[in-house]
Symmetry: C2
Subunit: 219 residues, 2 copies
């Protein structure tokens, strides 16, 4: 089930690598990705790599122009606000559409996230916090069995993930870390109560608050 052919597995690996780099601002908006350079780095030819870039373009993270290059997209504030609107609603749906039964293993995972978050409180790093947030997001979507809902949520997440990271430059990193840890605590409490809807509502509320904080720094 989890076995893939070499080609597909490499495709997924490259896609995930590039997506992460874009969302962690290793490739900031406006930068140009060279097909040839990336192909050389990953030890393939341009052909398989072009398929990865095509998917990234479909997801709205890059844009290819004939004769110009493949450019990392910038984020339009207005569209981002509407995307956040939808993300908030989808986060709430995770608690209503086919929520998974909350097991001890799930709670243990949540505890693990809280531990990692608390560690970050003492010496907060932007990148580490963003990465933890990304992992925690995947954990959040795994709380529903509705595959379509998971897929759409992730698609929208990666489209907006860069916003927070960009805004953090103008926000207080310690504050952001504290807010994130408090979300982890609220979430853990809901999960201990075996209340999937409450856990989803925690995420929903925090997406709203995050959107509000981020939109303030926007000019």
């Amino acid at each position: 089930m989890s076995e893939y052919s070499d080609a597909r597995s490499r495709f997924l690996r490259l896609h995930d690598a590039l997506r992460t780099r874009i969302c962690l601002l290793d490739y900031p908006p406006g930068s140009r990705l060279s097909e040839e350079a990336l192909a050389a780095e990953f030890g393939t030819s341009r052909t398989p790599l072009r398929r990865v870039l095509a998917k990234l373009e479909d997801e709205g993270l890059v844009q290819s122009q004939h004769g110009v290059g493949t450019i990392v997209t910038d984020v339009d504030p207005g569209e981002m606000a509407r995307t956040y609107d939808l993300r908030r609603e989808l986060a709430g749906l995770v608690g209503r559409l086919s929520p998974v039964p909350i097991t001890d293993e799930i709670i243990a995972t949540a505890i693990g996230f809280l531990k990692q978050g608390e560690d970050l409180l003492h010496h907060p790093e932007t990148r580490a916090l963003a990465k933890l947030n990304m992992d925690y997001f995947h954990f959040g979507t795994s709380l529903t069995d509705n595959e379509a809902l998971r897929e759409m949520s992730e698609r929208l997440y990666y489209r907006t993930a860069r916003i927070w990271l960009t805004a953090t430059a103008h926000l207080d990193l310690s504050d952001e870390a504290a807010i994130f840890v408090s979300e982890l605590r609220d979430s853990l409490q809901a999960l201990r109560a075996r209340d999937a809807q409450a856990a989803a509502d925690v995420r929903r509320a925090h997406i709203s608050l995050c959107m509000a904080r981020v939109s303030i720094v926007r000019p």
Copy 2:
């Protein structure tokens, strides 16, 4: 704004053509699409066509296997039910997230759809009804300015569109046409009242009912 380069425009055209064929069951589930044959039909080489097939695979409509072929996917009843669940919720959100102001032009378009639907009542055809339903769906999503919501709704629609068409073989076509026309009437009434949420709720309700009718014929 609506101008595209030749390459992109052709890509969109091919993608739309193949997607429509799959959803209208010209290519029933399980059939094999030959890259070479399709390339010849559309007058290109395999390279641009492969990009189209890759997108269709990403959308879950086909599945490529090395050395075997590109096969039109079949629909898993369980997953489809969950996808319908999400589609229903998204339809409701169209009325809440950035609904467009309802203009006379929109109402005129709705009247046009109703007229076409009523014409079909006298001599119903499965394919024509499915096509009209597809066009009407796009009209429904155009009632929100939230681009992400439109995109996700369409993505899910095309993933489930074949279900109804398959089920129609076991349902009464005249009944289905009548139900569809009654949806058009309800929808038009809501639009005349300039009530976007009511229009969205009409769609929401009909998606629920459609899901129920379709799931009955499933063994």
